[in-house]
Structures are given as C-alpha cells and as structure tokens.
Symmetry: D2
C-alpha cells in the first residue's frame, strides 16, 4: 500500500551551465534536483541540514531512476514535487515530478534511500526508521 | 533477444568535488560518468564528437537508472564498462557497470536513448538506426 | 571611472551535492553561481535566455576570479549581488558578492566577458556593445 | 622569489556535460579541473587522498582565478600542468596551465590555498607548512 505523503515543492531553474551543446538540460541535472528536493522535503518537516549534521544522519542512495518526458531549456523556471511513496524498515522511496512552472511535465523519477547514521570516525549504518519520523510525512 | 555488443571501457576517478559531506561519491556523478562513457563507446566505433557535430547527430535520453552497490571515495580509480543491450527502431539501451580498478562493483545502470538529428535551426527528430551503425557495435 | 550599475540579486542555496568531504561548499560552485547571476542580471533588463537565443547572442568569458571569505555549509541560503563595473568596447566586467541571507560575506568575485554573436554555423564574434544596452544597466 | 616546483600533469577530457549551449566548455569546468589537478599533484608526492583523510588534512581555498585563452570543445583531450609557485607560512599558490594535447593553450589559472587540519568534530585550522613537505615539491 502506498504511503500517503505530504508533497514538497522545490523551485529550481535551468541555468546556462546545466545545459549541453544540444541546448537542452544535461540529464544528470535532474538527479541533482531530485537530491536537493529530497533534502528540502526533510527540511520541511524539521530535519534541517543542521539537524541532520548534529545527529550524524544521512540518507545514502540504493537506486535512482528518471524518465525524461520533454526537454527543458536554459532559463526555464521549474519545480520538483516530491513525496514519499514507501517506507520500509530502514529504507524509503521518494518519487519526484519535474514540471515547468507553466505545468508542462519534464521528467519523473524516484530515489530509494537508506536512513542511516555515521558517528564521527564510524561507517554509516542503516537505522530503523522511527514511526515518529514516518508520521511527519503523513498527508494531513 | 539481447544484442551481443562490444564492451567499451571508460576510465575515471572520483575527484574531491565529486564527493559529498558524507565523504562518498555524490550519486549524480555516476550519471555524468555513464553519459561520458556512452559518448566514448560511440567514439570507439568512429562516431567521434567531431563527426557527431558535423552530421548534426545527438542521442537524447528517454530514461536512465542506476543501482548503487558500494560507496566510492575520493581518489578511487574506477572504470565504466558499457555495452549496448538493445537496439530498437530509433532507440537503444546502453548498460553500464561501474567498478573500482581493483574490481569491486560500485554501481550499475542503464540509459535508454534516441538516435536523433537536429539540423541547424530545426528541432531534433529521431532517426531509424541504420543497420550499418548497429553492426559497428556487434561483438566480433 | 567605474560604471554606476543597477544591482541584481540572485538567490541561491548550498545543496548537499555542492559540498565536498570537508562539509563546505566546493569552490567551483561559486563560479556556477556567478555565471547564473550574470544571466539573471541580463534577464532583469530584458535580455532573457529566449531573446539571447533568438538573437544568437552569448557572453563568453575572458577571465574570472574569486576570493573566498568564509565557508558556506549545506543548507545555507545565500544570494549573489551582481553589478557591471566596467563596459569596454566589446567586453564588460561583472562584479559579484556572495553573502548568506543573514548578511555574512562568503565570497566576492568578478567575470570579464565578451559580448558576442554566433549566427548558426558561424564562429562567435565579439560585437561592439550598443549604448542602448549599456543604458539598461545604468543606476536609476 | 618563485619556488622552483616539480610540474604535475593531470590528463582530462571535455565531456558532453561539461559544455554549454554555445558548444564550448562551461567555464567552471576549468576550476573543477584545477582542483582535481592540485589533489593529483599532492598525490604524486605521497599525499594521497587516503593519507590526507587519515591525517585530517585538507587545503581550503583563499582565492582562485583563471584566464580563458581559447574555447575547448566536446571531446577535446586536454591536460593540466600544475606547479607550486609560492609557499607562505600556512598558505601556498598553485599555478595551472590547461592545454589541449596538441599543445594549444586553453586557459591558465591559479589557486591560493591554506594547508589545514580539522580533527573530527573540530573546525579546520591552518598549519605551518613543514619544510619537509615543501621539499617534496622541489624541482630535482
């Protein structure tokens, strides 16, 4: 059963250096956006970058994918709409939809991530995702 | 039936700026590598960047995915082994395996791309992939 | 005599992937910001990316420099304040100040660029900067 | 008096995603190359990324600049020739020359860096550069 998640909105723009000689967005840019959008989604529920650092938390990737639906061009104002579609024991899935601000679908993708902690000098270990954390993302 | 492809080898290295505050490779870097590895594979059969420009050819993406198997660190010398696993009418799939030079599997991914042409001032159009082009990638 | 320029404000944020294993911004990020801020400054006076494309205009770099004053961290909300400090015949200088939104100076830099045009299939040539263009950037 | 330094050679290539819609290298790419070339120069004298991590050393930037002499294109094989031009008490300057492998000068730049140490949980502090370290870079 899909988790019913809040939806985060991450505004972004296609910059000159994000484009390739074909004049359209260089595709790894979408993955940079998805990564930043996931961090923004967590910030929106109180897990700011500062807090993540203080608690030695991070969210390494298991996998990522993206379908490219229409080319974006330099200057296009866009947004990434992100929601958590699944919580496992120590992992979760974030789905992302990239659109231009006029509503055109540009790309859609997903990331599977582990919820992990790495105390200074130690290797990151996955941690069971607390129910309290999951609750923060529940659609209200 | 899977296409029996030559295998290209693209050497690369994890640079300081490719890593994130967790001290491991920032995942969009793998997609940058896959993109460069596909261009290198085409160069190896005679489709150099210069020729691609001269003939107004490019290979925009339909989709891309990657599984992350083990974290790579700053300084790791790596390689991407790439082969074409499928040729459709106007599209094709490139599979990539990222390993460190000591043989450890780091990540594996795939790109689905269109074979396209965009004459100056025109929009890119997919083109039927010539048999002669497919033959260049046949395992010998 | 320094040109008295309008000042553009380009908001930006330090993303996870913009940082390095030391946990601070990877310095080429500032140059990416400066480039995007220059395009935004031109957009603010009517030279949008779309118009630049339509008129085959671009602004290649002659030189760039940056001093790094304080480290920025993941999550920091920042802005680039940009103004044109000099117009030459075919070139111009853009000065940029990077600050965090709480006002801390992070970095300051400058770009020297050529005003150029490259019609399809032709090489870019520098063009004399029209007075009308310079006037658009005059402090009002 | 300029320090007489060994010269490191860092091979690199202009990838598709390193270029912009004008079809030439996006300029922050040169700074990414300079950064990687500095790390390679230090690796060449025994300061590998692994050793730098183990000893909690890094080399944050004070300033960086670059002059762009000729445009590089997708596919160009290049190299960065790097040498240390000055050692101060806790800082040093690395000069970089970017050329294509056929010898054409593409860009030249410099970085001023601090030699610093940040033990886990502590802020980075500049350290006096040991004479033994300077000696490693002496032209032989």
């Amino acid at each position: 059963m899909e988790f019913r998640s809040i939806v985060g909105v991450f505004p972004c723009q296609v910059h000159w250096g994000d484009c390739d000689p074909a004049g359209i967005i260089f595709y790894p840019t979408y993955f940079r956006w998805m990564d930043a959008a996931t961090w923004a989604l967590f910030e929106s529920v109180g897990y700011t970058p500062q807090r993540m650092r203080d608690e030695h938390l991070s969210m390494p990737l298991v996998s990522a994918d993206c379908q490219f639906l229409a080319p974006a061009k330099h200057g296009d104002r866009c947004e990434v709409r992100s929601r958590i579609t699944r919580f496992g024991g120590k992992s979760f899935v974030v789905a992302h939809e990239m659109t231009s601000v006029d509503g055109a679908a540009l790309a859609k993708g997903a990331e599977t991530r582990v919820w992990g902690r790495a105390r200074p000098g130690e290797t990151l270990k996955g941690e069971v995702i607390p129910d309290a954390l999951k609750a923060l993302f529940s659609e209200r």
